[in-house]
């Protein structure tokens, strides 16, 4: 990245196939523009999304991570999002203790009908990540010998 260009954060989004992925599709169908920083990785369910993936994203240089799925009660697999939610409750505590920047880890429920919410949320977290700047701390961890 050259010095002149403004900083563009890299954002990895792990989303479920049935709600948030479709919500992003709807944002597209409705031509709702949002920053091009997010890279969506489609998984069947938030229940499938392991915390290691979040760490892996930071290791790969992500400046922010988004995990998103169906609203409670709407899970295509009945309860995958409930399992995910419980894991996130614990995982967030661990991030806090490690001093990992929780402003860079986002969780959301975005349904297939919420194209607008997807657009707004992705825009918001991109702007947050821009404001925070590159995640220098984790890059240092990854570069240390």
């Amino acid at each position: 990245m050259s010095e002149q260009q403004p900083f563009e954060p890299k954002i990895v989004a792990y989303v479920c196939n049935w709600c948030t992925y479709l919500g992003a599709d709807l944002a597209g169908t409705n031509r709702l523009e949002y920053p091009a920083n997010v890279r969506i990785i489609r998984l069947p369910c938030t229940g499938r999304i392991d915390f290691n993936l979040i760490i892996k994203a930071f290791e790969m240089g992500a400046d922010a991570v988004l995990v998103s799925g169906c609203h409670p009660g709407d899970c295509h697999y009945t309860a995958g999002n409930f399992h995910a939610r419980r894991r996130w409750i614990l995982f967030r505590q661990l991030l806090e203790t490690m001093g990992i920047d929780t402003r860079r880890v986002h969780f959301s429920w975005i349904s297939a009908a919420e194209g607008k919410k997807f657009q707004q949320f992705v825009t918001e977290i991109t702007e947050t990540a821009r404001a925070l700047g590159p995640y220098q701390a984790y890059r240092e961890i990854c570069q240390a010998e």
Binding site: R86, Q93, E96, G99, I100, T102, F107, I141, A144
Partner: protein
């Protein structure tokens, strides 16, 4: 008391109730070490003193110990919680195990973890040796005092702390080896298709490893602090364990291994779990 312990173990072996007793033996340098007694005359090697701090539950899942036959195990009240977790996770069959409870007196084992000790009498034992000093009610604040103090630091300071601390980690995996609840046949850290945790002893690998280790103990860690005790680099791993233990207690009213009846929180959920952090 030591005599009572030896007598009990002798009887168990004589009567054929068990084939092996997992207990403490005296070491050369004033330490104790895990001892596996299979012959009744060897019970004299068993000791019970203030240096018996290791958590022997970790041996219960080892294939080489399982091969010795039905076991009796010596546990303190704190160690015993590991048995509860192991039983919930189908790793031990409680009916096939004789638990010899060792009650701690206040001038018994002295370890940092003893500061937070609440209950000195094993509750789940078949036989209990010795008289305990009684219970000391502790509040949540007492239990997580060390964590609370640490959390006074800013996030950046915490990050800096772990960078310094984990830089010393040599990935010897002593923390994994000693943990009574790390019983996987193949650890995720040793997985290579894909590599989930970088195998080299760099800071990146150490972070990933310690996050993973701590998280895998979330809602399971019983706080025996063996990981911290054995860490050759002297990293205070306890803080990570405490943070998840506190999250489990605060959010799910759950303390691993304390209530024999309580179902594990791992693999379970409630529709009312909090979600104010989810947008």
């Amino acid at each position: 008391m030591q005599n009572e312990l030896r007598q009990t173990c002798r009887r168990l072996l004589e009567e054929g109730t068990v084939q092996v007793v997992i207990g403490y033996g005296d070491g050369t340098d004033g330490q104790t070490f895990p001892t596996f007694v299979t012959r009744r005359d060897d019970v004299e090697r068993l000791v019970w003193n203030e240096r018996c701090y290791t958590n022997l539950a970790t041996y219960l899942t080892r294939p080489e110990i399982l091969a010795l036959g039905k076991a009796a195990i010596c546990v303190k009240a704190c160690d015993e919680r590991a048995l509860v977790v192991l039983e919930k996770e189908s790793q031990i069959d409680r009916s096939q195990l004789v638990v010899i409870g060792l009650a701690c007196s206040t001038d018994g084992v002295k370890q940092p973890k003893c500061e937070a000790c609440e209950n000195r009498t094993p509750r789940w034992a078949n036989v209990t040796i010795g008289d305990a000093a009684g219970e000391t009610a502790k509040t949540t604040a007492d239990r997580y005092a060390a964590l609370q103090a640490f959390m006074q630091k800013t996030p950046d300071e915490r990050m800096a702390y772990w960078k310094t601390e984990l830089a010393r980690c040599v990935k010897c995996y002593a923390c994994r080896q000693v943990c009574p609840l790390c019983y996987c046949r193949q650890c995720i850290a040793d997985k290579n298709r894909p590599v989930v945790i970088s195998t080299s002893a760099t800071l990146k690998g150490s972070f990933a490893w310690q996050i993973t280790r701590a998280f895998h103990l979330g809602g399971r860690c019983i706080g025996c602090d063996e990981c911290t005790r054995v860490c050759p680099a002297g990293i205070d791993l306890r803080l990570l364990n405490l943070s998840l233990a506190r999250a489990a207690e605060e959010n799910f009213n759950f303390r691993a291994g304390v209530d024999v009846e309580a179902e594990p929180i791992v693999g379970a959920y409630s529709e009312r779990d909090r979600e104010e952090f989810i947008r």
